[in-house]
Assembly symmetry: C2
Homo-oligomer: 212 residues x 2
DNA sequence: GTCTATAGTTAGATAGAC
DNA sequence: GTCTATCTAACTATAGAC
């Protein structure tokens, strides 16, 4: 048990395995995004990546294990876009608008997170802990961000950082549902920007790089 | 085809059938609320109501048909609580807070709608049209409600009725996800009330009847 | 690391008797 | 209106060969 991993590295089989894992994760993201977790199947993932099911399950312990790997990978990419844990409050807030704009270009991924966060509210769901921690972390950091704005005098009077964090996350989630139901009916980044401007006096970007 | 229904009525079997349908709908609501639509099974519904599956399917055309019946029934009950299409803007807005407070007492139903509205963002989902119409209707009526407040001077300066409608719905939906994930961490009615008070100067209730 | 074969489960829906 | 019996299909996961 102790040095299984290092032994793999020594054998030199790790690089190939890493590529296989990456292909599986790509396909899994696509499948889960199209069908949701419960309806999406390992069978379909295996088919897309050109493997048998047992072949795939050699790399991941189970369907739920595969899901968790997909989620963590996505989060890494999102958090690279929004430096929520940094010291620049204005950058964090504008990062949220950028994220909303970016999300509008990947509806499948948005749908996956939307369906999963709903499914995962059940305590028995394999991703329940993952989402509970994710929301805790985000809420905490966003509250801290609004506190930064508060001390720099960029918060509108009467705005409480904890409530601002809670409602901002709620608005982002809620906008996604409405956007997914009718994608032509609303501009997520613009709506989020309008909402955030009720909380802060900060100048806000539009989420479109060329206008920044 | 023409007079099948009236013949049923003539035979007098309709009343009994109505009771059976009601029991099935009750059980179906419970099952879907516990497991979601995809994971919930007709088999389980039939078991709870003490019937065989074909017996149940005699009353409803299919699983998705059953779902639609459950949803319509729930909506009828919710809209009885919130008179969104009335002429009293203040009553409508306070009705939303009451609804949030009421929802906090039926987590299973909230979970059902939460999961379903996410699942149903996919255009192939059996409830897609249902939810698309439901959101259109709600947004339209809520916008009209905020317009009423606007003309009576109860809207805060700069608040746009259309945006207010959109973001209020988003906040309500988003709060539900966070509440479901950690029910002890937030008071949906209180948070919604705080949010609404950023939109209107109206005096707002707390959602608790005794304090009104 | 990948396969074939298969176990074991669960599901939605229909046929046809009563 | 309700049943028994059954069909058909899909899924996760494991055993064991290569």
């Amino acid at each position: 048990m102790v040095d299984t991993t290092s032994e793999k590295s020594r054998r030199g089989s790790y690089a190939k395995s890493k590529n296989t894992r990456a292909s599986i994760l790509d396909a899994a993201l696509a499948v889960f995004a199209e069908a949701g977790y419960h309806k999406g199947s390992i069978r379909e993932v295996a088919k897309r990546v050109g493997m048998s099911e047992p072949g795939l399950l050699h790399h991941f312990p189970s369907k739920s294990g595969l899901l968790e790997a997909v989620l963590t990978l996505r989060d890494d990419k999102s958090y690279a876009l929004v430096p929520l844990d940094g010291d620049d409050g204005a950058a964090s807030i504008n990062g949220l608008i950028d994220l909303a704009a970016h999300n509008a270009s990947i509806p499948g991924v948005v749908e996956l997170f939307c369906i999963l966060s709903a499914e995962a509210t059940s305590t028995e769901h394999p991703a329940h802990e993952y989402f509970a921690n994710r929301y805790r972390w985000t809420r905490e950091n966003l509250r801290r961000t609004f506190e930064l704005l508060e001390s720099s005098g960029d918060l509108r009077p009467g705005v409480r950082p904890d409530r601002a964090a809670l409602s901002t996350i709620a608005v982002m989630d809620g906008l996604q549902v409405q956007w997914l139901l009718d994608r032509s009916s609303l501009d997520m980044a613009a709506e989020l920007r309008a909402f955030l401007s009720t909380l802060t006096t900060l100048p806000l970007g539009t989420g479109r790089p060329e206008t920044r």
